[in-house]
């Protein structure tokens, strides 16, 4: 049951289309061709997506403790080998895991050994128990070399990278600040922050290939409010495109640019998305301004050329040409997928595909003055 699917699910008796849509939320390929579906099926898709997010999400996403479980198994195996009475622990991380995560795993491994009455010496001369974390295309491999009785015992544990939920650190900018709002494996075409309803509460809109998802800010996390299915494209594109357009006086509505059409959706109710054929230019960035930072308006754009390299977000004076020097820049961990509105003129919502993890990440990028 190591695969992310686990055992045959209880849902196996549900209608095939519903089950497929539920699971596709996690496994939708980037370039999948969508078939035309009748309206009933669209509704089922939306319902199933909602069901997934509310009830099944945590079960099919990467298990955050898969690595910890692997380390615990490794520690049990290592403790079971003949070993020296005292050992020093030498820990080497050669994988894509962050040093912070690796350090947590080291602490866990040491604690497990102590629990098994294996003494780990601190700052003393003792035979080394070496642990290496390596990475293969599909696995994180832990290897422990345990000294004992004139030889070295070897124990190895593997954890699927997909199950481990690899994370990457973030980098800081200087005049542009970013804050991670959302992260998921499934492709995000665009995202935007809006202030919704009379209370002005913040909402996060996430546009995927199949639907627009509206999240409401809760005390600790974003909670899914509802999902609105998008019309299926006639021809599957190799890479789907979409852009959310939020006007300042949006009245609770959001525009959605899709290839060859413009759609509209309400963010305060569950009304359906309406679309009309329209050929229009797509925005190239976001015009930003922050009164406290002066009166000038600035363009926030990406310098990306394709989707295989890390981009920089560049901030230029609005009147400056594209070759003008940027007044600020911010590196992001991958290609910028879209730049959209955020809750104020001094901020933007940026979708980035993190090249380190492959995840799609939504950032709030804000102008900051001075230091």
């Amino acid at each position: 049951m190591r695969g992310h699917r686990g055992m045959f699910r209880a849902e196996a008796r549900r209608p095939a289309s519903l089950r497929k849509d539920v699971l596709r939320c996690r496994f939708t390929p980037v370039n999948r061709k969508l078939a035309r579906r009748p309206p009933l099926l669209v509704a089922l898709c939306a319902l199933s997506a909602l069901f997934f997010h509310l009830f099944l999400g945590p079960r099919v996403l990467a298990r955050p403790d898969a690595l910890e479980e692997g380390v615990e198994r490794l520690a049990r195996k290592a403790a079971a080998l003949p070993h020296e009475r005292r050992m020093t622990l030498l820990w080497a991380n050669h994988s894509g895991l962050s040093e912070e995560r690796a350090e947590r795993l080291r602490a866990l491994f040491a604690a497990q050994l102590e629990e098994a009455q294996v003494r780990i010496a601190q700052g003393e001369t003792a035979p080394p128990l070496r642990v290496a974390i390596e990475q293969t295309p599909s696995q994180i491999v832990f290897t422990a070399m345990v000294p004992g009785e004139g030889s070295t015992g070897i124990v190895i544990e593997e954890v699927r990278r997909a199950a481990a939920g690899m994370e990457e650190g973030t980098r800081n900018g200087v005049r542009l600040q970013k804050e991670l709002l959302w992260r998921q494996e499934t492709k995000i075409l665009s995202a935007a922050m809006v202030a919704g309803g009379a209370t002005g509460e913040k909402k996060l809109l996430v546009l995927t290939e199949e639907a627009i998802l509206v999240y409401r800010r809760g005390p600790e996390k974003w909670n899914l409010e509802f999902t609105k299915a998008l019309p299926a494209p006639r021809q599957a594109p190799r890479s789907a495109r979409g852009q959310l357009m939020v006007a300042e006086d949006s009245n609770g509505r959001v525009g959605i640019l899709l290839p060859g059409k413009r759609c509209e959706a309400g963010v305060a109710d569950e009304s359906a998305v309406s679309c009309a054929s329209l050929a229009t230019e797509w925005p190239s960035g976001r015009l930003m301004a922050l009164p406290g930072c002066g009166t000038q308006t600035l363009w926030l754009k990406s310098d990306g050329l394709d989707w295989a390299s890390e981009d920089r977000l560049l901030l230029r004076n609005a009147g400056a040409g594209k070759d003008a020097a940027a007044v600020a820049e911010l590196r992001v961990g991958g290609p910028v997928v879209s730049i959209s509105a955020a809750e104020s003129a001094g901020s933007a919502t940026v979708v980035v595909r993190d090249l380190g993890s492959g995840n799609y990440e939504v950032y709030r990028v804000a102008l900051a003055c001075g230091d």
């Binding site: 699917r5 939708t28 394709d306 295989a308």
Partner: protein, 492 residues
């Protein structure tokens, strides 16, 4: 709204991607491929254009659905179920069925695995736990295709084989067995109805049999967009504006002895040879730091534990062992003969280096030129006592790769089977190393260079090129002539 910068960052449809490969011939029928064969790489890269797999592994270790949209297994990982994507069509317009998938897989799956159709797709039943089934299906020959018995197999992939040019013959026409025939140029056109979306380029033209030096020259002259390079040419390419690509080490060079060499003297000789070879120097000097010394059968990138094996040169110990050999070996009257493939200059260089190293330990080694032979082909003791072989890693499953390698060196069926658990597999590999039927020497990556106009070039470290995802930046006048008009309605 200024859109120029934005547009430059977005994919462009159209154009013809020109590719030059070293292989003089390819075989597009996965059923005919041999595990470990050096020509596997070219076959697989072109097959990727025509066929899909059930699942694919991305660069982040995650399995992505291809022709299977979902999968699950029982608690013992012995029974797997795959739900097939609906509405997928082969390039001849017929609909993909579960029977097609089962037919494609049943000839490929390892012993002990059986595939059957289900209401939603297929089921694979394994006699032993198959926790690595996804690795298996995401690599090697596990493509889904329809073999009609004549012509190249039909696939559901992003391209369709349009023509085989310049006096080429389609593989099956030479005898109907799908054997490789001399062909020079293949043209693949975009599959407009591909389930995963039309590829960006209109077509891919592949020229075969292009030497790396020529490929580099063509790249520099703008005559090709992607060329396969070699150890020496990649160093030169790195000094140009070309985008150079180096994979993980994918080809193992090793000395292969006959499997029946069990007597103590024979073992002693092999151990002395192994200890006398300076693998690090071979990788560093002879192969210009482009290779890795190989101390194990599986490379580090595949097993994650190869660093546990030691391949340090120990000349004193080698000499000591040589002293215990029979007089004919010890006093150099009867050299150890090593067959080298005549068509592979690199093998010759490596064999000569091994001869130099062993001489330092007082062992005579004589290289004998012979016809092309891969580790996957049976050895004949009459040829010589050893062969310098090249083994191409083709599976993402470490267990499967080790099993294939073991079979190739005379452990048919790899009995007992290679264990699934990593530490047991390590112990198994260690025992096999100690048999010294195969002495790993160095492992080499694949090399390629790409013209700067090729965008979204995101190959995997294990050698997939993923050409359906690249696009060509509209360029200068020289490029304009070869850029075809995008198909109507195809532009995003």
């Amino acid at each position: 709204m200024p859109a120029a910068l934005f547009a430059a960052a977005r994919p462009q449809y159209g154009g013809v991607l020109r590719v030059e490969l070293r292989a003089a011939a390819v075989n597009l029928n996965p059923a005919k491929w041999k595990s470990g064969s050096p020509d596997f790489a070219s076959n697989e890269r072109l097959a990727e254009l025509l066929f899909d797999r059930l699942v694919a592994l991305d660069n982040y270790g995650r399995y992505q659905p291809q022709l299977a949209t979902e999968w699950s297994h029982d608690a013992g990982a012995k029974r797997w179920r795959f739900t097939l994507r609906q509405g997928v069509k082969f390039s001849d317009g017929t609909t993909l069925t579960a029977s097609d998938v089962a037919a494609a897989l049943e000839t490929q799956l390892p012993r002990g695995m059986q595939v059957s159709t289900t209401a939603e797709g297929i089921s694979i039943q394994s006699a032993a736990p198959a926790g690595d089934l996804l690795e298996l299906l995401a690599s090697g020959p596990y493509f889904i295709y329809k073999d009609r018995g004549h012509g190249p197999p039909r696939g559901t992939g992003p391209f369709v084989l349009e023509s085989v040019l310049a006096g080429a013959r389609e593989p099956d026409k030479s005898g109907g067995d799908g054997a490789a025939s001399p062909i020079e140029r293949l043209r693949f056109r975009a599959n407009e109805n591909c389930w995963s979306g039309r590829p960006y380029v209109d077509a891919i033209e592949v020229t075969l049999g292009v030497a790396p030096a020529r490929a580099l020259l063509d790249l520099q002259l703008g005559k090709t967009d992607l060329g396969e390079l070699s150890v020496d040419t990649v160093k030169r390419a790195q000094q140009t504006s070309l985008l150079c690509w180096t994979s993980a080490p994918l080809t193992l060079y090793a000395l292969k002895f006959s499997a029946d060499g069990k007597p103590e003297q024979e073992q002693r000789l092999r151990k002395a040879v192994s200890l006398s070879v300076d693998r690090e120097a071979m990788a560093r000097v002879l192969l210009q730091k482009q290779a890795q010394a190989a101390a194990s059968f599986l490379p580090q990138w595949l097993s994650g534990y190869a660093f546990l094996f030691d391949a340090e040169r120990d000349l004193e110990r080698a000499k000591e062992l040589r002293g215990k050999l029979p007089p004919n070996r010890a006093v150099r009257t009867e050299p150890l003969r090593v067959t080298v493939d005549t068509g592979d200059e690199l093998s010759k260089l490596i064999a000569e280096r091994v001869a130099v190293d062993t001489r330092a330990a007082g062992l005579m080694l004589q290289t004998v030129r012979a016809g092309a032979r891969a580790a996957s082909e049976p050895s004949t003791r009459t040829d010589s006592e050893a062969q310098l072989v090249a083994w191409r890693y083709t599976s993402l499953s470490a267990r499967d790769e080790l099993e294939s390698l073991a079979s190739s060196v005379g452990r048919p069926g790899a009995e007992p089977a290679v264990p699934a658990e990593a530490d047991a597999r390590y112990a198994w590999e260690k025992r096999m190393m100690e048999e010294r039927t195969l002495l790993p020497l160095v492992a080499l990556p694949d090399f390629a260079a790409v013209d700067g106009r090729v965008r979204n070039w995101s190959p995997s470290t294990w050698g997939e090129w993923r050409l359906a995802d690249v696009w060509i930046e509209p360029g200068d006048a020289a490029n304009a002539g070869r850029t075809a008009k995008p198909a109507a309605g195809a532009k995003p």
